[in-house]
Point group: C2
């Protein structure tokens, strides 16, 4: 996987260099209560994400991060090297599921796997890659599963 | 639709009060370059979202908002009354597609439609509602289509 001779961590994979089953692991991001409330104040102002006492009486039993916050942190981890595809990450569409809540104390990382590689028929310089990205907490529990369809160019 | 006698805009719909085809329209949110770059700096630090000159040379031809920014603004519009379901919005999972980019000058609103209502067999106090949410710009062009599976409680 390092045939390019690039220093570790800077190697990026273009369409013709990807393989089904290939995996990538991101760095980590530590959440905290301030981040959870700041995101929620701006984008998801619901009691589950803003108010410990009110959240305790909901089905979550306490404060949880907005699913969109989990998704956004996942994007950051992917963009920072967690998914070194092409010269950037361009998503055509995604499916996202949140099998368990993200808590303010969670430290997240993303494990991604190449599921499908489909060269474009009309645009020979690119293709569509399906990447399954599991966002996991410090106990390796999956808090988000995202399946993304990404536009990836050929290097040549 | 206003049989509850609630003042306009405060009426919320519980599982037994929803109908297939029922539609909701959110308020609006005006983006700007500062918001686009602030979100991208924190969550999606790619040139398409951060640097006008570099973005001009990409397939977008100029600065565009992160898809996750569009999704997060959509969430805010839904939470602020665009999808007045139950006593809050709890998503089990979503599909999101971005058929066209969101630009920094866009003014967004969300038009939602109830696609499916499925009472839970095991939990008679709730059900799963599928809501299709189109995020549109000031030209009524669709920049995001989100199909969300939401947990909605019964009122009774």
């Amino acid at each position: 996987m390092d045939a390019s001779g690039d220093p570790a961590g800077t190697r990026r994979y273009f369409l013709e260099e990807l393989q089904i089953g290939q995996r990538f692991t991101s760095g980590t991001h530590a959440l905290d209560v301030e981040q959870v409330k700041a995101f929620a104040s701006q984008f998801d102002p619901q009691r589950y994400h803003l108010d410990e006492e009110a959240a305790a009486t909901t089905l979550f039993g306490g404060l949880v991060a907005s699913g969109w916050h989990t998704a956004s942190v996942t994007m950051r981890l992917l963009a920072e090297g967690g998914a070194p595809l092409g010269d950037g990450l361009i998503g055509a569409g995604v499916e996202v599921a949140w099998p368990r809540p993200t808590r303010p104390c969670d430290i997240l990382h993303v494990v991604s796997e190449v599921m499908e590689i489909r060269p474009s028929r009309s645009r020979p310089d690119r293709g569509m890659v399906t990447l399954r990205c599991e966002t996991r907490n410090q106990q390796d529990e999956v808090v988000q599963v995202m399946t993304a369809r990404l536009v990836v160019p050929r290097r040549t």
